[in-house]
């Protein structure tokens, strides 16, 4: 081969260019974020997802949930007219997507450092799921939604995921995991392992820990927004 060195340098240059432009700056800016140690009870935040929830992340990726659901709570303050005056409001906070109702907060970069894959998403055909674990009391409520979303929310756009469940004849006692949905006589609907993993993953999605330093830097009085005339 003629000019092997030039070819090598050219290929290396192309990769170095994209690496230098996209990977290196991001790593310099965000790569040093680590877990935060709570000064009071010495726990580390965020914690890694437990085993079943980590498996559920794979199911989440496999089913393509990310195409309709985001996982990022924005702190975008908008203003609207309220009784003749402009008032600031935060759409994501108003939809109760921001975790703890008493201390709503946006998603911080640190929230994602333990995620094996980050499902930020781009399209919000469905609600944001970053804090879905705070909105569902248990896995049964999630199963019901996954099995037939239209039974929970009448006009839901979500496709039914009945294929994650198994209708089987009741042998002996009814399964403790059986869904409270109509089933043929003598049968019951039970979640498959994939559904259980997905539910564990979703219930584990909650950013309720409030990082003090992040809170301090992200708080902005709504009056400042109004003054800034946004």
């Amino acid at each position: 081969m003629n000019n092997g060195l030039a070819l090598f340098l050219g290929v290396a240059g192309v990769f170095a260019f994209s690496w230098g432009a996209f990977i290196l700056p991001a790593h310099w800016q965000l790569g040093r974020l680590g877990q935060y140690r709570d000064p009071v009870d010495e726990t580390l935040h965020p914690s890694a997802a437990p085993g079943l929830a980590a498996q559920g992340g794979e199911v989440y990726a496999d089913l393509g949930c990310v195409y309709c659901h985001t996982q990022q709570v924005r702190q975008t303050t908008l203003t609207r007219l309220k009784e003749g005056k402009r008032a600031a409001f935060n759409p994501d906070f108003e939809r109760k997507w921001a975790g703890d109702a008493n201390q709503p907060r946006p998603s911080y970069a640190r929230d994602y450092i333990q995620d094996r894959r980050v499902f930020l998403g781009q399209v919000r055909l469905g609600p944001d799921l970053r804090n879905v674990g705070t909105r569902f009391p248990d896995d049964q409520a999630l199963y019901k939604l996954l099995f037939e979303p239209q039974a929970v929310t009448k006009d839901s756009l979500m496709p039914p995921h009945a294929f994650l469940f198994e209708t089987r004849p009741i042998v002996g006692e009814r399964s403790a995991k059986a869904l409270a949905v109509p089933a043929p006589p003598g049968c019951e609907v039970v979640p498959t392992p994939r559904a259980e993993a997905l539910a564990a993953y979703l219930l584990n999605l909650k950013d309720t820990y409030d990082y003090p330093e992040e809170r301090r830097r992200n708080m902005l009085p709504s009056a400042a927004i109004l003054e800034g005339d946004r």
Partner: protein, 215 residues
């Protein structure tokens, strides 16, 4: 002399091959190797160096980018945010205990629920003798009680089995210094002493009984 080309192409190729100048030109091209000159290598190296420098420059001048800021409306101060890590005080530790155990009745504001749960803010029971308030937290209280000029008649849960001595001391230090209260802090040793003094007791205290203590 053997025929160099197949017969079918013979008329054309023979004519071409006989052209001396063309043959010389081919020979030159066949031996041509573009040389990686020093200049080419230097310019590739310079390009990579410029790229690295540009990345560095961009990263350190990215409009005050801060990985901890998620709010697009926040404009960081000149020179960036300064990290603030305050000292961990007993009152701070107590606030956590308070938020976990007390706010259901006494609320985050310390004002309680009028008519049902007494306030802690501005309460003489909180800022008064620590002997009384420690007993209330340990064994609870039951019966009519007057707090900040209002009458209440409810039940306070005993926390002796739930909270450790230092947790009780911290939470009391917190409520004695928050919401305008200004009473000295409670030491864990005091809680330990009173816990051992009242070791046998499980019944909640009556307010009248407490008023006899720490007079």
């Amino acid at each position: 002399m053997s025929e160099p080309f197949p017969p079918s192409h013979a008329p054309i190729e023979r004519a071409a091959a006989s052209d001396d100048s063309l043959q010389r030109a081919h020979a030159q091209l066949l031996h041509y190797r573009p040389q990686l000159t020093r200049g080419v290598l230097l310019s590739i190296g310079a390009l990579i160096a410029v790229l690295l420098a540009a990345t560095l420059y961009f990263t350190h001048n990215a409009g005050g980018f801060d990985p901890l800021v998620a709010n697009e409306d926040v404009c960081p101060p000149k020179g960036g945010f300064q990290a603030v890590t305050g000292p961990v005080t007993p009152a701070l530790l107590g606030k956590r205990v308070y938020l976990a155990n007390c706010i259901q009745c006494h609320q985050t504001t310390g004002l309680g629920v009028p008519g049902t749960f007494p306030p802690l803010a501005g309460s003489d029971w909180v800022t008064g003798p620590e002997e009384r308030i420690i007993r209330i937290v340990l064994q609870g209280a039951n019966g009519p009680i007057t707090v900040a000029g209002k009458n209440f008649n409810g039940v306070m849960t005993p926390f002796a089995p739930v909270l450790k001595d230092d947790e009780i001391a911290n939470v009391l230090t917190y409520i004695r210094s928050e919401w305008g209260n200004a009473a000295p802090e409670v030491k864990p040793e005091t809680v330990t002493r009173i816990r051992s003094e009242t070791a046998g007791r499980t019944a909640p205290w009556a307010p009248a009984e407490l008023l006899e203590i720490g007079k």
